[in-house]
Symmetry: D2
Subunit: 311 residues, 4 copies
């Protein structure tokens, strides 16, 4: 059954798979590794999978632009969940390989900046080669095409490798954020600690447009959590923005802000409201912007129209 | 019948009466001059009159603070109409008085700045005395307590005076704006060229509050037409603001802005939406802020919640 | 000697005189009461007085528009000092007059709203008449033209009257703010707790201009203390703004903001930087906006231009 | 001589080399291909090269994050020139290879989205593999490790390949922007059509900080040309911003804005002011923000301090 199938960027043994398995529902889904982010999402678009699980940004390397571009372009998709996974690399080798025997090292390019310092300290002469995923790097080692691979420790067993060094990460607290993406559907109920994602295209030739866009949020007390510019493809200097903000589309402050964007921007793509994976940052909404405040103001307005604004 | 009675700042023969008579409905009302702006409005509050007609600002002298304060404080009232009246003064004297016989001149204090230059050029030695209204000044001349009064030409007949000089006004285009004020009631339908008035109290100890308040308008493309600060009476440095903005409370951009103010300010008093008396300034609403734009954005939002935002 | 002469709104015995006498330098000046605010200021303009001392606003009644208009229009003047004087009224009568013998009461119109509630409770039938000053009201009582006057208690002796009731004031903490105004001169040194006043004309036909004006202050962390709109005289709907802000023109955040206004507005009139009379509100400047922060940023910029921005 | 050496992302035959050769000074420099963006820039930092020439963004694929991260982190560098190069790909094969013989295709990952549609239409079954550069892809074809490579047409001769298909680009007007980067030095003189680049870190835990940052530009009439968020490495949700704005650091509106950022942000890295490569977009500066306006305002301020503001 396609609805019970989740695609993810494979092969098996990637951090993506490890993150996906932290979702309770993953236990009851068929998890299908695919070759690329577009492939994972196209399977969803084509109805061959109920969801696709893909990385969207890393706290060291930044956005996964393949994911951003899929969300921005083509048939619309919607985000239903996010997962944050701390990232530490293990250096995986064929059993028996020693550190000084390593001439070539591989990993996904996103991993490289996170191990670069370790590499220059410990394997200054090793040549680095790009793999299409960390797990694929492990496979290259298994096949003898490379001496060592940076990957998650969990990948060792899968590829018959051993962990030569563990906990390699230049940056403490490196984290990758993943999204569970599906076909657009009814937005699920707010949990009280939600996030809303969207893509916003700016009006042409309007220098202050980004500021105006941010003011739609600010005036309603909504904090932005992330803003990523992407080229629109219309030529150098033309950008759209992927934005994550606090709150859920069913909250009035959020819906009013999105309607504001919709009114002033040539295009807005709503990407979903979903529970936040970080539980630390719970902040009270700014005074005057809770749903209760909106409801009270709306009641007051109705009374004003009726000549009873002071009652 | 009290509902058919309109009070106005008397005595008869003031510019206020002249302005009031420009309203078609004035012909079928009992027009009652009273001694002060508060008295005019208190009659409405007490149900002894259906409306009160009072000056609110002059393009030379500025706000009529008695009117502002009545609108800000006490039992709420609502504005139903505005009238703009060009002001030119006549110098009224008892029949036969010549210019060089004038030792004392009177008028309402508001009139004085508008005739000051004329006075120093033509009657440099005359002593100016305050009258409680321009018509009252005419009465003082009639009673022989003063030699000349600045008042509307129409006051001459009423007080048995003659027009010695007409069209006295230091400033071309001096205009007074008057309001027809009543007890709060259902807001009448928009005419397409309306104005909305309100009083807004700022949150305490919040230096950027005025800016935030203005942004509630700006973000929704609403032009302010007037802002007047008034002391709250809570001590030096504490102000509230009387604001006139473009648009009608039943327009979404206006209602959303007012609800925004209501949510962030400790108090907002809605003073009415009513037809604009100036017909020249018809500007199209800013793109993205018409009621049609609001309705379209609202439809889109409903579709987004339902997973059909792109349709 | 004209430089040692200060004019003030007379006659003697007004609150203005009382406030003026709180200035240490008043002891060594010739204090000359004059008939009007314009007269007080014109004496300064004409070189007949070194300073003029005039009320500018009252915490109950609001602005003294005669003063505002003099500061806005005509030959420029500059503010050198401000004084805050708590206002309480005494009801002054000719010796022996009892409360029930009072048929007429007078005061300056500004005083009336502050005693209105007391009047309606204690002298509901007394007729109120305007005087050109509170002290002038006392004179009218002295001359027998009126039964009682609201004025400062200090006026009683001056006019041979007695205090029938003291401490009359509907609003606790009523305060009047006065300014010492002189011909423009070198701005005195900052005291660390200063205020800067100016008049700003908005660009024509630019709906967001007031917001932009306020942003010149906000972006530099400057709190506004007062904003008063005045008609420009160019017709209904055209205003300029008298603005008081925190800080001294010699502070960089203030000078940069004023230069910003000067660049975007058709006209800006600097009215002076002078010590604040309220000592309570000392707030630290917003982080990043002290003169030290400006100097550090300026040094950094010079290094940037020289390729040494990171040093 | 190291000063006359420019490094660039090699190998020879990349678009980078083609873009570099558009700079007149390239003719007199030793152009040295290196293996990575960090290597190109580290050679400059180490004094082994006078400049490094690297791609920074593509109008289809977006930022080259390796370049962004090098500019953000580590020993500071400065941008001296930018080049815009239209990008079209040629499909290069070993002489004699026909389209239906192609089983594997390679290119730099950045190229892939630009040829993806062409690939699925013309070579739907070919397997795509990543190369570390487009020229390196050509080398892989030369060595027989891959059947075809997308690269610039100019790479064919260099690697003994032939152009099977030319002008492949899914997006018309695809353009890559390159930067000439050097050690920090004196900023060169403005040309009248310049751009300024910087990195700005936001204050912690200050939700409105991005808006405030943009207001430093907006209040001075400066248009942003690009904003790219990069993770700070301090954990998920912490970003800095690479910003390109109109104007030159020696223009007052720009220097004042940068000093404003410096004052409110914990860190600002100036990356250079340099001539804009796009000549079409010459817009007049916003009224009130030219250097002449700044100079006039500054003169006015000096006169104000001296009591001669109205002269």
């Amino acid at each position: 059954m396609s609805a019970t199938r989740y695609t993810y960027l494979g092969p098996a043994g990637t951090f993506t798979e490890a993150a996906l398995r932290t979702l309770p529902e993953a236990a009851t889904r068929e998890l299908v590794p695919v070759a690329s982010v577009p492939a994972a999402l196209d399977a969803v678009r084509a109805g061959q999978a109920g969801g696709a699980f893909v990385a969207v940004e890393n706290s060291v390397e930044g956005p996964v632009t393949a994911t951003s571009d899929e969300l921005v372009n083509g048939t619309p998709l919607m985000i239903y969940r996010e997962v944050l996974l701390p990232i530490t690399f293990a250096l995986l080798v064929r059993p028996g390989t020693s550190l000084d025997a390593i001439k070539t090292v591989t990993s996904h390019p996103v991993a490289q900046p996170q191990v670069r310092r370790w590499l220059s300290a410990n394997l200054p002469d090793a040549q680095w080669e790009a793999a299409s995923s960390n797990a694929d790097g492990a496979r290259l080692v298994q096949e003898g095409r490379c001496d060592a691979a940076f990957a998650g420790e969990f990948a060792a067993a899968l590829y018959g490798l051993e962990v030569l060094v563990s906990d390699v990460n230049d940056e403490a607290n490196a984290t990758t954020r993943f999204l569970l993406v599906g076909r657009p559907g009814r937005v699920s109920s707010p949990t009280g600690l939600d996030k809303t994602s969207m893509v916003v295209w700016l009006p042409d030739d309007h220098p202050g447009a980004l500021l105006e866009l941010l003011q739609e949020f600010a005036v309603r007390g909504i904090n932005l959590m992330r803003i990523e510019s992407r080229p629109t493809g219309e030529g150098m200097g033309s950008y759209c923005f992927l934005i994550d903000c606090e709150g859920h589309l069913s909250e009035r402050r959020v819906s009013e802000a999105l309607m504001g964007l919709k009114r002033i921007c040539p295009q807005v793509r709503f990407l979903g409201s979903y529970p936040r994976a970080d539980h630390g940052g719970r902040r009270p909404v700014r005074p005057g912007t809770s749903d209760a405040d909106f409801a009270a103001a709306s009641d007051w307005l109705a009374r004003c129209l009726d000549g009873r604004g002071e009652i």
